[in-house]
Every structure is written in C-alpha cells, then in structure tokens.
C-alpha cells in the first residue's frame, strides 16, 4: 500500500487539484458524504457544507482562508447523538483536528465511519476581511496563500499569526494529510496516509508517484520555529499588560455577558452552562441589592470576571488557541491572548498538549499520587 503520493496540480490550478481529489472520494464511493467549506451562492463567504453529490463540489473552497466556525463543533453536531452510519469525509485544519480530538475525549463526538482529512493551513482571516478580499481578488484563496507564504501576515487573524501548528499534529486521529507547506503549488502537493483507511484511499485514487515528505518537513520546521518566536513575543507582552486585577477589569470592561465567546468556543460543550444556570444568575432584586450594598454599587450585568475566569478554568487544559472566542465578541475584547497564555501555562503544568493524542488522558480526569506536594501548587 502506498504511504504517500504526489497530488499533481494541473495547469497550475491548486484549488482545482484539491477539488478533483475530493471529487474522486465521492465518485469512487470512498465516502458517502463530504464535510467541506463551500462558497455560498452569495459569493462573499464559505461555510462548512455536507456534500453528497459530486456536482455540488464545484463551489468547494477547501483552501479558503477563513474559519467562520470551528469544524470540530460541526463534527460534534453530526455525531454527538450517535456514531455516523454513513462514511463521511471531513476536511480539517490543525486547530480543528485538535479540537475534535479533545471533543472525542470529552465524549462529544465520535469518529466511527469518519475519514479525517487534515490539511496544512497557513492561517485564516476574519469573515469580514475574507468578504472584502473576495471582492478584490478573482482567486482569493491562491492570492492569500501566496501573500502569506511570501511573509506578509498582515491579513492573518492574530491567533493564526502565532499558531505553532500550521500542519495537523495528531496523525493517529486523521486518515490523510494534505501537505501544502514547502511544496511547489504549481506542480504538485503531498498526500500522506496516516491510517490503513488513508492508504486505501491513496491506492484507490491511483495517483502514481510516491511523495517525498522531506521538503515539506524542512519548510514546516522553519515555519513552526518562526511562529513559536512570534507567539512567545506576543504572549510575553500580553502577560506584562494583563497582570493584576485592574488590567483584567480594563480588558473585560466592554463585556456585556452575551456569552458569544462561549458559543464560538469548540471546547465549551455543556448542554446547560453553569454560567447561565439559576444558581448563577436568577436572583430576586433584593439579592442583587444586598450585593450592591456590600460594595456600594454593583455592575450590571454582574460577574464578568467570574464568567471569564470560570470559562478559562473549564477549558484551559483543552484550549487549542483557534481564537474564535475573540472573533465572536461583539465588543472586540482581545480574549485570544489571555486564553492562549493561560492555556499554555496550565497545559505545561500537566505536560498536556490538547489534540496531541486520543490516548493522553484529560488532565482534570486523572491524577498522580506523587505530584504538587501537599499544598496543591508549586
């Protein structure tokens, strides 16, 4: 069985090459449906779309540099009630694949009958930026990729600028990886099988020549190093700016308790969120007045700090840094940086990397008898 193959790019048209690959999956009945980004008829956005007919793949935009929703959340929608009985292929970026791995461990998604196709992602822009970019460019995805590859990251969301995992990391969870980084996009890109299913697919598509991963690996290592440098720089600055109650309150001052950040977060999954529950928010006026009396005044809606700290506490171990919380904020609160900063610290504490492996136990469901001493910290 071939482990890898070169996906030839005809006429230098990269999006079409990937589209043809996807069409092959449906045509050869390797999958019964595909969950891929498809351009909406309006022409100014792409959305994940469950496609069953080959001709509907004409408008597929697997390279569109935009992530309106983290795909892990959609996979959870599809498989939370019961494992899929149909074979579904899903295209996922690294942060989506990592979030999905976490959701599987949290029992919010099931990988049965799913073919996971990881794809290299150089970064995404906001939905609004993408809409504008589409109006200005005939082939937005290619133009975007070219700019980012040439070192112009001005269009990238901040979360993507410091993303140290531009390539899918958990190959065991995925079946195939589409490798773009370090490849000549006018010639051919790399398909790498990560499971026996993936090998079957590469075999069935009769792609011919085996690929050479060394070129991609070298480019990926360089990109990762640069991203880590940028990440550490930004988070160092964040820590200085953010430390202390006053700075935290300044950050959260615009919070109107809409809880959109929680809804956009791929990791927050509770059907009934504690922070919306009667325990937390349903009180008589008398109660609120008594709290106001304690301090002379009470901000309403109350408990912005409580909300964000509790949310951090619930998902910091699994935060993949996709930054969609920040995109979802109606008042532009820069949530990504503190969440990444805190996430990294908490994850390091348990030597845990979200999305690394399905076998790594979730830190808060496990324990070691000898750790942290008696005091519980440091």
């Amino acid at each position: 069985m071939p482990q890898s193959a070169v996906l030839k790019v005809k006429d230098g048209n990269l999006p079409n090459a990937i589209k043809d690959f996807l069409k092959g999956l449906l045509e050869k009945n390797l999958v019964e449906a595909l969950l891929v980004p498809v351009e909406l008829p309006s022409g100014n956005n792409v959305m994940l779309t469950l496609v069953t007919k080959v001709e509907k793949l004409e408008d597929a935009r697997p390279l569109a540099p935009v992530m309106p929703v983290n795909a892990a959340k959609i996979v959870s929608t599809l498989t939370k009630l019961a494992p899929s009985e149909k074979k579904i292929g899903v295209i996922l970026r690294s942060c989506e694949l990592r979030a999905l791995t976490e959701l599987v461990k949290l029992k919010q998604a099931d990988l049965t009958n799913l073919i996971l196709i990881g794809i290299d992602c150089l970064g995404t822009c906001s939905v609004a930026t993408y809409g504008m970019f589409c109006r200005e460019n005939a082939s937005p995805a290619e133009e975007f990729l070219k700019r980012v590859a040439d070192g112009d990251d001005s269009l990238l969301r901040e979360a993507c600028r410091i993303c140290e995992y531009p390539a899918p990391i958990n190959s065991e969870a995925s079946d195939i990886t589409i490798g773009l980084i370090g490849m000549d996009w006018k010639e051919g890109i790399l398909l790498q099988a990560a499971s026996p299913e993936g090998e079957l697919i590469i075999d069935a598509l009769e792609l011919g020549a085996e690929g050479d991963p060394s070129q991609r690996e070298a480019a990926l290592a360089a990109l990762t190093e640069e991203r880590i440098r940028q990440r550490d720089l930004l988070l160092q600055q964040t820590e200085q700016e953010l430390k202390g109650q006053d700075n935290m309150l300044q950050l959260l001052a615009p919070c109107v308790a809409c809880h959109n950040c929680r809804i956009a977060c791929p990791i927050c999954y509770c059907k009934e969120c504690l922070l919306d529950s009667p325990t937390m928010v349903e009180f008589e006026a008398e109660k609120y007045v008594s709290w106001a009396e304690q301090k002379g005044a009470l901000r309403m809606p109350a408990d912005s700090l409580l909300f964000h700290l509790v949310r951090l506490n619930h998902m910091a171990t699994s935060c993949v840094g996709c930054g969609l919380c920040e995109d979802a904020c109606p008042n532009g609160i820069a949530l990504m940086k503190p969440f990444r900063l805190v996430g990294l610290r908490v994850q390091r504490l348990f030597d845990y990397l979200p999305g690394r492996s399905l076998d790594d136990e979730l830190p808060l469901t496990a324990y070691r008898e000898e750790e942290f001493g008696e005091l519980g910290y440091k």
Partner: protein
C-alpha cells in the same frame, strides 16, 4: 471588617470535607482548642466537590481567603477525590497566578479526622497569613 481595636479581621471561608477536616474541626471544638473565629465553615461531602467556581465566587463576593480541607492522601472516602481536587486547585492557581490575581488566598490542606490539634494550628496559621495579606482587592471592586 475590623475588630474593636481597629485591626483588620479577614473574612475566611472554609470548605471542609465531611470525613476528615470537618470532623477534625469538631474534635478541636470538643477538646476546647482555641483558634480565631474568622473562618466560616462549610461542610462538603468531599474536597473534590469544591469546584473552583465556589472558591472564586467567595473571593469575588468579599472573602479574603478560602480554605479547602481534604483527607490525607490515600485516605479519601471516595478513593481519589482529594487527588483530583489537588489537580483542580493546581490548575486554578496557575490561572490566577498567570493573570496576576492573588492565588495565595486559596489554601488546600490535608487534615485527618484525628488531627484536632493540626486543625486548630492550621486555622491559626491561615488566619495570620490572610491578615498579613490584608483585605482582598476584590472586596472593593464593584465593577467586577
């Protein structure tokens, strides 16, 4: 809060596991051991039932310190509750520490049901330490 001499008296909340620390508190009482009255005890069925949200809410609503008392490692009535709580507290303290919020106001200690003396001594130590830290900055913040 200040006592008659105008000295700062911290408001302290204690979550005591039913099987150990709460019983140790009882033992301290029946053996007439003295310790400061600042702590407001809340009995829980296990230290692991103390979710950080309770700790946080206590602090944000005006407590100066929160104490969680659990069973000595190996003695948990539910086998591993105290180990799991220790992980949660470690994660929670890391979050607070990273954001420059005072994680020192949260104490997790193991006190067995037989350790009335240790309970009283720990309460004295905790109260003294929280007095030293002074009033929690959350106390005054009405805009939190």
């Amino acid at each position: 809060m200040a006592d008659l001499d105008g000295e700062f008296e911290p408001v302290l909340v204690g979550f005591f596991c039913n099987w150990c620390t709460a019983t140790a508190a009882d033992l301290a009482g029946t053996t007439r051991l003295q310790y400061p009255p600042n702590i407001r005890p809340i009995r829980t069925m296990c230290s692991s039932s103390v979710d950080p949200v309770y700790i946080l809410k206590a602090l944000l609503r005006g407590a100066d310190g929160v104490f969680i008392g659990g069973c000595v490692p190996g003695d948990c009535h539910y086998v591993s509750g105290n180990f799991k709580e220790r992980r949660r507290i470690a994660a929670f303290k890391t979050i607070l520490d990273t954001l420059g919020l005072e994680h020192e106001r949260i104490w997790l200690r193991w006190i067995s049901a037989a350790e009335g003396q240790k309970f009283a001594a720990t309460m004295r130590e905790f109260t003294a330490k929280m007095k030293e830290l002074g009033p929690s900055p959350f106390k005054k913040g009405w805009s939190i």
